[in-house]
Symmetry: C2
Subunit: 270 residues, 2 copies
C-alpha cells in the first residue's frame, strides 16, 4: 500500500494543468536548467513501471536522471505532487472518443477492455490513493470519454453519474486482480496451474477440516474447474497462466452482468 495524495492541492493543480509561468523565451539568469518537470515525471513513471511503487524514491528517480534527489525539488514541490503528476501523465493513454457506432454495449465493452489493459500496463496506478481527487486534464479526458459512451444508453443524468462511479472501480478492481495474479506468478516462479494446487495443498495440511468449516467455498472449487479459455492468438502467443486467466474471465463475466443491469435499467425506464 502506498499512501500519497497529500500534496498541496493548489500547487498540484497548477502543475497538472500547466498553469505555471510559461518557459522564458530567452532564458533568465542562472545556469540553464538541464531537467524539466516532464523529464522527471517520465523517469519516475518508467521507474514505477519497471520496478514497482516500492522502488519509487526521490533518490532513485534522481539517479535515473544522473542527478541527486534534491535536484528534483527545484521542479517539483515534493514526492506527493510528483505522484499526482505521474498519475495524470499516464492517464493520457486512456481511450479517447470514437465516432458513435450506435451500439453502446459494444462500445462500453471495448472501452472497459482498453482501460483494463491500461491499468495492467501501469499497475502502480492502482496503488495511488483516490482520497484527494486532484483530477488532472488527462483523467478528466478519460472520464469524458466514458460519460460520452454512457450517454448513448439514453439513461438520465442522475443514474449516469452513478454508473461512472460503478464502472471505473469495477475495471480498477479487475485490473488489480490481473496484476496480482501476475505478481504472484512472478514471485513463485511456478506460473502455472500448480500455483493454486500448491497453495491449497499447504492449506489442507494446516487445516484438515477445511471442507467442513467452509462448505460453500469448497463446493464451489470442486464443482466448476477451469473451462477452456477462448483467448485470441492460440498459436504462437505465450500461454496465459491460470490465475490471470481466471481474473480475466471474472472481468468478462462481471462486465456482462453490469451491462445486463444497464440494459434492464434502460428497458425499465424508457
Amino acid at each position: 500500500m502506498v499512501f500519497a495524495g497529500q500534496g498541496d492541492p493548489r500547487r498540484s493543480l497548477s502543475l497538472l494543468w500547466r498553469a505555471d509561468a510559461p518557459p522564458p523565451t530567452r532564458g533568465g539568469p542562472g545556469p540553464r536548467p538541464r531537467l524539466s518537470v516532464d523529464a522527471i515525471v517520465a523517469a519516475a513513471v518508467a521507474l514505477a513501471d519497471e520496478e514497482g511503487m516500492g522502488s519509487l524514491s526521490m533518490r532513485a528517480v534522481g539517479d535515473r536522471l544522473g542527478r541527486t534527489a534534491m535536484a528534483l525539488y527545484t521542479y517539483v514541490p515534493g514526492k506527493s505532487e510528483l505522484l499526482d503528476l505521474m498519475y495524470d501523465a499516464v492517464h493520457a493513454e486512456l481511450p479517447g472518443h470514437e465516432p458513435d457506432s450506435g451500439d453502446w454495449r459494444a462500445a462500453l465493452t471495448a472501452w472497459a477492455g482498453e482501460v483494463l489493459e491500461f491499468y495492467v500496463r501501469h499497475p502502480w496506478v492502482l496503488q495511488v490513493s483516490q482520497a484527494r481527487p486532484v483530477l488532472g486534464p488527462h483523467e478528466y479526458a478519460g472520464l469524458d470519454t466514458l460519460v460520452t459512451l454512457l450517454r448513448a444508453t439514453g439513461l438520465e443524468a442522475g443514474v449516469l453519474r452513478r454508473l461512472v462511479g460503478t464502472l471505473f472501480p469495477f475495471v480498477r478492481g479487475s485490473a488489480q486482480a490481473v496484476a496480482d495474479a501476475r505478481l504472484a506468478a512472478a514471485a513463485t516462479g511456478s506460473s502455472d496451474e500448480e500455483w493454486w494446487a500448491a497453495r491449497s495443498a499447504a492449506l489442507l495440511e494446516l487445516v484438515p477440516d477445511f471442507a467442513e468449516r467452509f462448505p460453500a467455498v469448497s463446493g464451489l472449487e470442486a464443482e466448476g474447474p477451469a473451462e477452456p479459455y477462448p483467448g485470441e492468438g492460440t498459436e504462437g502467443a505465450e500461454p496465459v497462466p491460470y490465475p490471470e486467466r481466471e481474473a480475466r474471465e471474472t472481468f468478462r463475466v462481471g462486465l456482462g452482468v453490469l451491462l445486463d443491469g444497464i440494459e434492464a435499467a434502460r428497458v425499465g425506464r424508457t
Copy 2:
C-alpha cells in the same frame, strides 16, 4: 499507498490458522511472556483504526503496549506478517450466515450493506494489497457467507465464482469512495456542499475553457444536481455530508444494476 503482503507465506499461514505450538501448560524456562500475538494484533488494529495506516509502525505499536519495537519480533516475524494478522482479525466482523430467507436479492443487498459498513469502520483494510492472497480463517468465513447467499440464485458454479470476484471488489470500491469522502471532509474542514463548490471554483479559475474541453462531464454535472437523500433517521442523526451521500448513492445504484444483471442471468439461463 501501503504495500504490505510480502511476508513469508508459510509463517503467515501457520500464524493465521493458529497452527503454532500450543501455549505450554506450565510455562517453560525464561521469564513469563507479558505480551501475546493477540494483544499485539489488537493494539495494531486499534492504532490503524484511530490514526490510519500511515501511523502504523512497529515502534508505535510497541509504545502502545509499553514495550519497544523490537519486543514485537518475539511474537511476530515482521511487519508484513503483522499486517496479515491484522487483516484477518478484523474480518471476523464480516456478516455470517443467516437462515435462508428465500429472497436472494434482499439477502445480497443486506450483505453488501453490512460489508460496506465494515470497510468504512476499518478503512485501512482497503489499503492492504491483495497481491499475495494469504487467506485467513475469518476472510474465508466471509467468503463462505457470500457464496452461500449466491447459491440461492441457482446459477451454475462457473458464473458464481466470477460473481464473487465481482461483488467483493465492488463493495470495496464503494467503501473506498465513502472513506475517501470522509477523509476529504475531515481534511478540509468544510465538510459540506461547499467542498465541491470550492474545488470546481479553483478549477474554473485555472482552466477557463473547462466546459469546452470536457463537454460530457460538464453537462452531467450541470444536469442532475443532488437529489434529496432518503436516509434513515432524518431526525436527530447528524447530517451526512454531500460527498459521502453521493458515494453511498453510487453504491446503492451500482448494486441495483449488478443485481439486475444477476436477475437477467437467472432468467436467461433457467
